[in-house]
Amino acid sequence: MPFIPHTEEDVRLMLAAIGAPSIEALFDEIPAGLRVQGLAGIPPGLSEMEIGRLMSERARQDGQPLSFLGGGAYEHHIPAAVWAIATRGEFYSAYTPYQAEASQGTLQLIHEYQTMISSLTGLEVSNASLYDGGSAVAEAALMAVRAHRRSNSQRVLLPTTVNPRYRQVARNTAGGQGLRFETIPCLSDTGSIDPAALAAYAGEDIAAVVIQQPNFFGRLEDVDALTDQAHALGMMVIAVVNPTSLALLKPPGEWGTRGADICVGEGQPLGVPLSSGGPYFGFMTTRMAHVRSMPGRIVGRTVDLEGRTGYTLTLQAREQHIRRGKATSNICTNQGLLMTAATLYMTLLGPTGLARVAEASMTRTAQLVAALSTLQGVRPAFAGAHFHEAVLRIDRPVAGVLRALEAEGILGGLDLAADYPELGHALLVCATETKTDADIERYAAALGRALEALRAA
């Protein structure tokens, strides 16, 4: 029996110890009318060899196209050691470290993770991770409303420069508790937050504003001015950042005069494979003053009976298993395995490696934009500094262009028509350190052919 070790002799001895005539008898408390006889809709079992063949066939169907997609998930090289270690059974098959003495490996690793993410974001404390970037934005909004000392407002500003999917998740997650999200527009020439739109909230009671840096279009926002402006208006500032970019960009803890109050983001770029969208992890950091309002698990350093250093889950009085209906969130798990991978990734890259990844990605994207913009009918949509993504305006509907590129084995980027119809035919492209000169040339040539064909049609 797959994964069940019992011999017939075992079953006989065990039933005798129980005093039951059969395994079936162990289910005699279930009302007979509710019992099912078999699961006809489930196919018969497969051996490991058979499932291996099936999954290899399925994987082959998906192929490995050359991808210039970003939009919240990024292709980076992942060192071999990252998943070789993360999938060790001692990490992979352990549970939440509730029994601290038997979980020091996971606990110390989380403490090291908290240290790295805190430093990367320039804020004092980190939790042990949340589900993903989108849910982290939702939790940050809920937290800001809880933590704001001088306002009971449930209104949170979400600029259109924040990833549209994060905005949807925030609404769908926090709306039930009465939070109201209001959209503020961006400037059409620079693709960055319109400061005048923020200023228009003067005199109103707003709990927080969300600022994404680099923003969804890859543009660098003027975070210092925006942070100071929001603080002057009595709002808390929630930063949404790409962790790779923080090797080069000013950390949210240093934005403006006082720094952002809460920082969240998608941790996927730190050693987590794209994997059709998950599992990823969300990170969250804040100032020590707000630590008791933070959701999720937190690990602290302490000492044991003999005075030796050890690590343990702490501030658990915030959490659902203690506080039940009054907890800061219903979250129970973190994304432990992904956080483990990220800690390995950050260790192997170090400050130098991470800065090189960031810089190479910026450079590749700039080269890509330059190469594509030489084509007739293609131009950059926004002026100003970008990180590793950019919006291109094309003189043909993007969907058809992308289909033509796909036929050549290229995923050309993300069509913004559905989320940003006001931008016209707009395409979000991304290149990371994984792209070569030849890749960029191949894309440019294919795009040229595609546009020519569309114009001829």
Binding site: Q99, L315, L348
Partner: protein, 493 residues
Amino acid sequence: MNQTLEKPIFEYSRPGRGAAAQHPPAPSADAIGRAAIPDALRRREAPLLPEVSELDAVRHFTRLSQLNFSIDTNFYPLGSCTMKYNPKACNQYAMLPQFLGRHPLAPATVGQGFLSCMSELQDMLKEVTGMAAVSLSPMAGAHGEFAGVAMIRAYHRARGDLARDEIIVPAAAHGTNPATATMCGCSVKEIPVDAEGDVDLDALTKAVGPKTAGIMLTNPSTLGVFERKIEAVARIVHGAGGLLYYDGANLNAILGKVRPGDMGFDAIHMNLHKTFSTPHGGGGPGAGAVGVSARLEPFLPVPLVGSDEQGHRWLDETDRPQSIGRLSAFMGNAGVLLRAYIYMRMLGRDGMARVGEFATLNANYLQARLRDAGYELAYPTRRASHEFILTLRREAKEFDVTAMDIAKRLLDFGIHAPTTYFPMLVPECLLIEPTETESRETLDGFVEAMVAILAEARSDPARLKAAPYTMPVRRLDDVRAAKHLELTWKPVQ
């Protein structure tokens, strides 16, 4: 065990060292990179990341891993968590390069292999739970609970039934149940269970009314017994206009034997990291797929996998206008879902029914042996489901040892502690779940350890109170951890 402690990674760090093979080449002088960042937006001080060699990193994290208990190394009878063996094939085949490399925004045309697995997974989960439809997107059990209660609220709202904002939970419910109700803007009403562990129907009848949105139940319950009055519970709640939510934490107990849909539940979540053996990963990722009865189907969270003659594709709000919407930026924990798919295909229909059978056999065997060894069962007249509860109130009174002391002492025997102090209504309790993947010898070894510990409680209770002795650390000072918060590593001054 007795592993030596490992120093923080930061203390291995030396300026200028690094895992050079992992770094992209240094940028050329004319690279567009960093120079494009306006001065005011630049980082001034490098982040505190370690500067270590690849071997330093591998050795450090391998050593850390060795400080953990895990299923691969230890019996882990943690009640309510279903710590069963995670087959290696599930990991290996979910990590094929095409699956790992697929971008979440890639078109469905380059994901038919992956999407076909997801489509079949939806169908298999419908079959094992008896629900009308399934969405795979919630990322953990609590996330699935959130989706479930949000759907129940959306259902009432769509009918113009606006007053229903109360969620009923039994006193023994998982903490996530009331926390979820709060997150969905509901208030919580707790109802008691009777002496044999079944819901108190009189209390339920009094609790329901025009404000009842629904009830959240786990069955088998958190008390380790099957809720025998489930049909009456469903009649009462439905009769009052409320819906039934099934917390799937204990689905392993009844796999192939009885289905939540047949019991009358309207919304359920499944913990794929429990029942379908995806890894717990040191605290995640989970996966909390939700299933619904026909009346809740329009409200399922997106994306769902839809199939037609052109193949499989994601369905979003455009296809599902009444959906409670998207709860994750992309597609939930897709890689976890692949592992669950592989596990279910390997078990097949017969293997799945065996899961419930042997999980229940193991739990009842352990329960009988521990009872015979002198431990007190919380529900001695009941069959165990896939787990059961011991109460140590007698030992607490006679020898002044607690459930926690026994749990900690078990670690010295190389056994992970059962769940302690949950459910809270049983004093000094241990919730024990062996799972179907453990052999009789392992269970006997657990009984021997428990017998030795009980003898020690009688002869030398002080020894128990200071356990464990063989772990990398002794009992930790939790009070100090919370009072003097040291949440990050700081260089020694």
